[in-house]
């Protein structure tokens, strides 16, 4: 990276910080409207269902990427929070213990609370050890879901019996690819907007400072554990939102939603897209999803193709495809 590039990277957050909330909200609103227009224009149900799944995965990747961006640590276990949200709804519906609205709320609260409690213990642990602990937690939940056959249906999964209406809206709407695309796209836009706001806030700057040099931040007088715990909690909350959307759309959960390979895929998406940008992981998720889909049509060895993309991005574009795109845009804007 040249000095000029570094300066550019440094300048970018400053500019983002200066962007007024009005402009940001307008951007998000425009994105949502564009999503609606797009859904109205596209006829193909197949394309819409693929896009909807890609967007839900993009929310998952955004959560994982936010943790990398703010805390500088890598989680191999975010599928735990995602899957926990899925299974919360599935089990609540199976046993009919609460209305769907309460189940959705619980599905957001439980993983978030777990992340908070867990964070108090594990954020102090640096680097690889942190990643391994998240992996262990994720796999523990996965093993539990696979073994607890009577409760979870084991490997065969559970069909989620959703009621006819959710929040007063017909459930079929959440399962219609066009309508669900608009819903998920809007949620993604709001999540990215909210995370950008957090990142630009004093809290966001504090966590960035801790990420760069925890000792120095502590020395200046900041508490350094709680901010990091809160970042982990927030990223788990975002991931739980993706889990809720997934369950509403698919009405089916299986232990795959807890497996480390899902956490790994989310991580790969974040890296391909570029976790330095709030929207980078989402961008990476959409590329990953369609690359996988196209490669999967051609060959059963689609992992190899994704692997090659990952290697190329890591070697040639450490800022990710999203980062490269943003740089091009800035260069173009500079010339214009």
């Amino acid at each position: 990276m040249t000095a000029g590039d570094a300066a550019l990277e440094e300048a970018a957050p400053v500019r983002a910080r200066r962007a007024s909330p009005v402009v940001a909200a307008a951007l998000a609103a425009a994105a949502i409207v564009l999503g609606g227009v797009f859904a109205g224009a596209v006829q193909s149900t197949l394309l819409m269902t693929l896009l909807t799944q890609a967007i839900i995965t993009a929310i998952l990747a955004t959560g994982v990427g936010f943790l990398i961006r703010q805390n500088g640590v890598v989680s191999f276990g975010h599928a735990a929070f995602y899957g926990m949200a899925c299974y919360t709804i599935a089990l609540a519906m199976r046993h009919g213990v609460m209305p769907i609205e309460a189940a959705i709320l619980l599905a957001l609260v439980l993983p978030t609370a777990l992340a908070f409690a867990l964070g108090l213990v594990i954020v102090r642990i640096p680097g690889v050890a942190f990643s391994m602990l998240t992996l262990a937690v994720g796999q523990a939940l996965y093993e539990f879901a696979t073994k607890a056959r009577h409760a979870t249906g084991g490997d065969d999964g559970l069909t989620v019996n959703l009621p006819a209406r959710v929040f007063g809206v017909s459930t079929s709407l959440f399962q219609d690819p066009h309508a669900m695309f608009v819903v998920s796209w809007a949620v993604l836009a709001l999540v990215v907007l909210a995370l950008a706001a957090v990142a630009a806030s004093p809290f966001g700057r504090l966590t960035a400072a801790i990420r760069e040099n925890e000792e120095r931040a502590r020395f200046i007088g900041y508490a350094t554990v709680l901010p990091r715990v809160l970042v982990l909690t927030l990223s788990a909350f975002v991931v739980a939102i993706a889990g809720v959307l997934f369950t509403l759309y698919n009405a089916f959960v299986s232990p795959d939603v807890l497996h480390w390979s899902l956490s790994g895929s989310a991580l790969i998406m974040a890296i391909i897209g570029g976790p330095r940008l709030i929207w980078g992981p989402a961008f990476g998720a959409i590329i990953f999803f369609f690359a996988k889909d196209m490669a999967g049509d051609v060959t059963e060895h689609w992992q190899a193709i994704i692997g090659v993309i990952l290697i190329v991005v890591m070697l040639l574009l450490p800022v990710g495809l999203g980062g490269a795109l943003a740089r091009l845009w800035r260069r173009g804007a500079g010339h214009g």
Partner: protein, 397 residues
Amino acid sequence: MRTSIWLACAVVGAGAVASGPAVSQEALKIGVPTALTGTYAGLGNEAVRAVEFAAEQVNAKGGVAGRKVEIKTLDSEAKPEVARKQAEKLALEGYKILTGTIASGEGLAMAPMLARWDAIYVSTINKSDKLTGESCGPRVFRVNKQDAQDAAVVKPWLAKRKEGKWAIMAADIAWGRDSGRSFVEAAKAGKKQIVAELYSPFGTNDFAPFIQEIKSSGAEGLWVALAGRDAINFATQAKEFGILDKIFVAGVSFVTDNTVKALGPISKGVWGIINYSSTLDTPANKAFVEAWKKKYNGDEPTNFEGETYMGMQVIFQAVERAKSVKPMNVAKAMHGGTFDTILGKLKIRAEDHQIVAPNFFGYIGERDGKLRPIITETISAETATPAPTGTCKMAAF
């Protein structure tokens, strides 16, 4: 401007009229979401071979009532979640008649989605009773034998065995659990004791802990419900630990035509259910086996290949009768219909869409210098197929 719109309408309309006959000859599109990678990849490849063979055969004769048969296969990894995604993709691309899927969990995951996709699913390998039980529906059919049909064969056989203490080793998925449960029932009826009931995770590599438990349980007989790579791993390791020589072994989908090829002499003397065998002496089957051998360099069709071919026979005849490839019209033709298959004239019950078919029992032995499953007992369709249990509440068409 307005004239040009009218003109466009007229052209499109004329096109629609002109293409009228062609539309009625719409291709029969069959989607195959099946395992091409992972533990059940071997079974998935068998399913694909049978589907492709049947399609090629019928296309060479001018198609099904003039309709060309088109096939598309996607990898489901034998995972319910992936199967749902791939089946959805196939259905939305127009391949709305789905078949050839391996794991029961996959079929059970696809079943509730069929109405949303306007598709039907014809199982040729899924065995879980649930598929034609709780999860049954107008769009779900099973042309292969379910667990209850296998259990009906096992029960009288087990009662006659001299071994008193039995262990169960099954895959921890819908099918393995079903098979284990029915074996426990059969053991009770035959006054046998179950000393160990073990379920291994799908895709287990190291069976040593399970084999140790079987050994220490004092079992004299062992019932195995493992398939694909699970079956091969277990059999190889069980041989190393010496339990295949000491304990009497039988199973379902365990030593099949295909696993025998991989296992060789290890599989000799293992007993089990044989759902289909290329040696069956019916004219239809002989013709099928001859044609198959010609295409696949002298290979004979395996059990899964035979059963999947049967599924294709049923689909083709249903399309002929329905004079349509619309999924619901095909479903109506299948509902309660009787079909000519390589196992004879067989009926698909209207109550639960389960095929009423004969079942077979035998062991792995040498014949014509080759190791293969040899049938010792044939159980007629009526005896082999227990009456519907009433768990299926078939929705109206």
